[in-house]
Symmetry: C2
Subunit: 257 residues, 2 copies
């Protein structure tokens, strides 16, 4: 129950209406014994920094979760930890005396989710779609698992090329390229399929028959997931990645309990 001593965890995104997980966060916070409420914050693109300035005056703000399109702006506004620095992106900020500290949980959350779903990365040809804030963290996480190759495609070629170069620098010797290729495991990190969007993020022929597909969109019936199931793939979607991050968030914002 919300009360006068309740602290706030705000999920900042645009759009925000489609976001999920509120009941799961409420349950996890309560069972951790934390008096905090997880609430949506509809912050338009480009206004994240101004929102943060005002949020400095909110003493009971425990933290801000940044989602699309704010992960790069969150990174720019914080003192990043190693995970955020490597991704060049942050999805969780907490107030510090001199500003904001930030981390990026998408990479660790993604790995926990694919491991639980039995989606293989090591030794496989992996294709990623989307090189935005979450994509950057997921790319670094995939690279840790030493795929046989990693291909990154984004409609904005500068983004995919810049991310491929960054992954190569962090993981010398790993075959990384900014293109679309045949794969064994396909990972969608683009927002396509979010909300009621019925588009595929890639043409259906690129879905690996009998392979594996992870869609970070938190919706069980994205067109990608439905097509992948028809093609006999092992699949999972963003709900598992979101849930994997709940306990990490509680530790980061409220400490060990």
């Amino acid at each position: 129950m919300i009360g006068g001593a309740t602290r706030l965890v705000m999920l900042a995104g645009d759009p925000i209406g489609h976001t999920k997980g509120y009941a799961e966060y409420a349950a996890a916070l309560a069972s951790a014994g934390v008096d905090a409420a997880y609430v949506p914050a509809h912050v338009p693109a480009g206004q994240f920094a101004a929102f943060l300035d005002g949020a400095r005056n909110l003493r009971n703000l425990a933290g801000i979760v940044a989602t699309i399109p704010h992960k790069r702006d969150a990174f720019a506004a914080c003192r990043p930890d190693a995970a955020a620095r490597r991704a060049g992106s942050a999805n969780l900020l907490r107030p510090a005396p001199d500003g904001w500290e930030g981390t990026m949980l998408d990479g660790a959350g993604f790995l926990a989710a694919v491991d639980a779903a039995g989606i293989p990365l090591g030794g496989r040809r992996v294709q990623m779609l989307g090189a935005g804030g979450a994509g950057r963290a997921v790319a670094m996480a995939i690279a840790e698992r030493r795929p046989s190759s990693l291909a990154i495609a984004d409609p904005d070629a500068r983004r995919s090329e810049s991310l491929a170069a960054d992954v190569s620098r962090e993981f010398p010797g790993l075959p990384v390229a900014a293109h679309l290729a045949e794969s064994d495991t396909l990972v969608n990190c683009s927002p396509i399929g979010m909300g009621t969007d019925m588009a595929l993020p890639v043409r259906e022929a690129m879905i690996p028959d009998g392979g594996a597909v992870y869609d970070i969109v938190n919706r069980a019936d994205t067109p990608l997931i439905l097509a992948a199931k028809r093609r006999g793939c092992v699949t999972d979607h963003g709900r598992s990645m979101m849930l994997a991050q709940v306990q990490m968030l509680i530790r980061y914002l409220f400490g060990a309990r």
Copy 2:
């Protein structure tokens, strides 16, 4: 249940931990069919304007309730309606395209509460304690009921004198003075007794034996209420004033339903 489409109503105050009414607001919002969450915002004194600046970037913010010590700052930051203008104080803001619109519900909430409790004002000698944001609205509300006299006492004599002058200007002919006097009905608008404070806002001899006492502090066992009961007074406290404002708030922020 909070979800992605939930709008926020923030209660801004300092301190905030003692504030109450969250369950009552949640129930009233739900039964009005409004998807909104009422949450505490601990905004330190002097930082209300900076907090408001940041809140402009929060598109799902339905409104801000201002409590101690922000009611005067809220007034200064908004385009006030008639109730707020007369009180020189605002306790509820809503975003408008060009800034904030504000109202002051304490006066109407106070009148609804004293009427329900059977606390008389008209024709009685009324003593008010406290001339802050809420006190200003309550003084104007009492004056509407034409007491035989209205006395206003505040530890800051400039505040009580300025409020007495404002009430006189709005209600010519009404005997209003900035002092402490014998009364039939005593109204505490000071924060004394809030939280775990065990102080009386006035010496006990000034409590009208067999009269009436309303304490706007939202706590059933303030030292003032306990002493007034011992002296045979009709009493009530701020919970009724807070509850009377819930439906007014819903209408102001979410329109007729």
